[in-house]
Symmetry: D2
Subunit: 328 residues, 4 copies
């Protein structure tokens, strides 16, 4: 049976989640609450822009204790340098950054200039999987891994030591496309499910994760096509805090108009699960990268292997997001 533990829902922080606009709740993440959730974020920051927006939300969420951030997919060293600068400018140079094994570049590293024009870059970074295992061993059963990039590091960790990997408290991932594909915003012709980027770019690792027997929460395209439109950008990019300034600069290097905040929903869900209600599902990742519900035959139904969020309220998400990330 799929081991959903009720304790993984952050009851204590619901109060703050609901009152997110209050000064207490939107305060910067230090000092960390004694009940703060220990998290590690695994990200391909630097290509699409939503990873930076996810890290920003985590930095503004006192309910989370960020043990470290690991980089995955492509030029992981430059992604780590980007994080060195981003974290330093946001006032959190203490957060460790570890780099995954690089892979051949298959994407457009849009934010390279920010990463390279960088007096905060560390000369080297520890290995991502080694860092992950070290943290798990120190905090067995306590760490939530937030996976918002292709799953190279996750797959490598499962390959290397599945038992230790299972000592994660849970994994929350942005990924998959269950009933809606890219561009399906609830108006216009429905878009059928498609292979989603984070899964498509490392299908075997995704398959391993869904079979890993770790509590898994999935935020697919169905619930994460959250558009940071012109009104929200004008608000956020004029705040003039160190954090919003960093986001503003990264946004312009990204070079497109409307960011889709796929990844930040993982953080929002952790802090306030009502922002993305999940349901137990058995998901099968096929060889083409589709992530289809697979209930199994009627007399031997598949047990759920994930809690999946199929819908969300963008307005509630953005009230939560913007009040936190824009806070002074």
């Amino acid at each position: 049976m799929f081991p959903i533990k009720l304790s993984t829902i952050l009851i204590p922080v619901l109060f703050c989640a609901i009152l997110s606009a209050s000064p207490v709740c939107s305060a910067q993440s230090s000092p960390i609450s004694p009940v703060a959730e220990k998290v590690i974020i695994d990200t391909d920051i630097g290509d699409d822009i939503d990873d930076a927006f996810a890290v920003a939300l985590a930095l503004r969420s006192p309910e989370l204790q960020i043990l470290g951030i690991t980089t995955t997919f492509g030029d992981t060293e430059t992604r780590s340098k980007l994080l060195d600068r981003f974290l330093a400018e946001a006032g959190r140079p203490d957060i460790p950054v570890a780099a995954g094994v690089p892979s051949p570049p298959k994407s457009n590293f849009t934010q390279r200039r920010y990463a390279e024009n960088n007096r905060y870059a560390k000369p080297s970074h520890p290995d991502a999987v080694a860092f992950l295992f070290e943290q798990i061993r120190r905090n067995p059963g306590q760490i939530t891994l937030i996976a918002i990039g292709p799953l190279m590091n996750v797959g490598a960790a499962i390959d290397k030591d599945p038992a230790t990997f299972r000592k994660l408290k849970r994994v929350v991932m942005m990924g998959g496309s269950i009933k809606r594909g890219y561009g399906d915003l609830g108006f216009g012709p429905p878009q059928p499910p498609q292979p989603e980027w984070n899964i498509l770019n490392d299908i075997p690792s995704a398959q391993k994760l869904f079979a890993a027997e770790v509590p898994l929460y999935v935020m697919p395209l169905d619930a994460t096509q959250l558009k940071l439109d012109e009104v929200k950008r004008a608000f956020l990019f004029s705040q003039g805090t160190a954090l919003t300034d960093a986001l503003t600069l990264l946004y312009h290097q990204w070079g497109q108009e409307t960011p889709t905040l796929f990844d930040p929903m993982t953080i929002a869900f952790l802090v306030n699960p009502t922002l993305c209600p999940t349901q137990p599902t058995h998901i099968r990742v096929d060889e083409k990268g589709f992530s289809r519900p697979d209930p199994g035959p009627s007399n031997a139904p598949n047990p759920p292997n994930a809690q999946v969020c199929l819908d969300s309220n963008p307005d509630a998400f953005f009230r939560f997001y913007l009040n936190r990330v824009a806070a002074p």
Copy 2:
């Protein structure tokens, strides 16, 4: 006691409201359903852009039978000509247009070129209040008046013949600012209530309406600051139907970037009341145009004089709106 009749809620059309993307429900308004709600729209179309978007939604709602459209505030004759063209291009030249008494111009008639470059303009238009009374007498107790402009016509009608005015089934108005003012979108610093445009531009008429003892449904700023952002505009303005083409052209004459769809919520509420849930309230319009809840003294509480919607889900509204108005 405030006479809310349950029958004013359009139970029969809820089915379509929920299934708004289905071909049956998004069909153009002809043929009109036998249970269609008889409505008259009173509008200051031509200044801000939301009136045109409200009329467009009404034209795409088979649950409504539009008996006519009346114009109010400022250059009512040019507003009527604008409607002549808009209705003709949308395939509904049969809908009567009546003009209110003109008043001194206090606003920017942004869409004047559309109105004047117009082979469909009628040489003259009947009087708005006369038209309203004629329709009420033909359909006593059956007409919903949708008021989406300053309340000159409404005030004149109440002055002239309050008994006939009370034979309206109800009034649904966009107006007021109860707990949130302009620019309060739920993020950033809260904006206190402000005098709202439709009330501010004819305060005495607004006071008469709130005292008129007609069932009154109010959609204030609190629930109607609905932003038609770049993603939604790109979708809507590329549909290429006669209706979306007309909206596209009016949008460009308006000349700003982001429309706020205040007015269309009145239509959406009529078709699907769950899009803007109301609660009974006693509203007092003061001499400066504020529209404050006034519960009265504790031992003689004021009976409610309106059903007021204080919050809405913009995403649900836009799924409803865009699926209807973009339909072929």
Copy 3:
């Protein structure tokens, strides 16, 4: 020797070209001047947006007598229907439209909805090459062919009857990339020459045209990357004339932000050659679609085969363009 005739420069219209903002000069194209230049426009209208903007300028240029418009590349029949509607809405349904031989679709017909949602579409269209030859025979030595699409029709005409083709007065084409490639606007890193779309999509026809011994004027990327920016769009799209309304609707179907007005420079050059000064050059189109200057060996230099415009003043172009196309 390359037969540049001075008479091909429109001396009589220079007065208007310089004073383009005056009412006389910006008047609509009727009545046509007795000295008006006879032109045929060959276009792939419907994919990129600049063809429509070129036709619009031609319609507003009384110095030109448009004998007809022919369509080329891909779905030529739908392109012709698009023109049927565009010309009708602009008040010029009298201009003949002829369709080239269709070719396999290799582009994105962005403006298909405008073409198909169309009560002005003619059931069929004459053949483009036949139409061209008929017009040349009626007006030998008098017609300027304006080629603003891939050169299928041009190549077919040369193949079929090169002698008649040479009875064109001249060809003015948008095409080629001599010293600057796509995206080279004079700031940022220089972009080397690239295969340009109109040449790339039918290289053999382009080679035939450069060898056809017809006076040839070439407006390459170097002089035609003219950006219709937000300020100019706001001006143009709020004019509310039938012509600007049609451009507004097509712009939205195109679906991108900033049009590059490559093609309209051909029309501007015809009316006012100072807007794109040319110099005699020998251009060689190679098998990859590059269009390189090829001066030949020093003791046997290649005679020029084209007059090429290598630079332009965008501000002067847009003053000319916008004053004409926005005129009532």
Copy 4:
């Protein structure tokens, strides 16, 4: 007679002005050329956005030696703090900043957050006029004063010590409206001259300057309505240098869409006078702030009191501007 000295034209730098894209010429301002022009910039930076873009160009122009920057109009102390940060981030904290006498706020200090969220702000700033006089006495006849704000400091200096003020080499100002008013971009209906902001906000000081008998170069609205459109912004704001990052952040605090780069033309003119050709004119500033040419009676013509630029080529300006300011 108006004392235009030919030597005020920067012959030595013309070479670089023409070749502005070459690495040598676009190099950062250190080391300063031995022939560099000594300048002081007087600015109301913080309201409109063009002042920051002017300072940025000066910082990237090795032909200029910036002796200091003085602030004028309204909250001069906060303007000075803004400059402290801007100069520090751009790598030039050595440039002195002096504050004019504050005046009652009449404008919107849009970039206040940037100025206040500032670890580089100096606790106080010397007096602007005292600083100006000290520099003039050290460098008599050598300093060009670049006036790009309302003329409070200029007027105060003339009042205090006109003889020393006359020891300026010259004044280059952005100001005035000779034949074209705001919004006249050469297309659309002409806009008649209007009172221009920098003159309107201190008319007596403007009158004093035009009578001060100092060589005066004027860049009015006629030549400075230079639109930084979406294409140019996308290029500039993605460069990721410290200077372009600072401009990006200020742009967003400004909060509008399209900057008009009025002020930078003063700097561009100094480096390359061909970018804004001037002609001798007698300008009269009237009591309403109009700045009209006043040739005087035919038999006693007014001698010119200024060199005025009435037209410019925006494309040439932006090639110059963007290649310099975007340089690494």
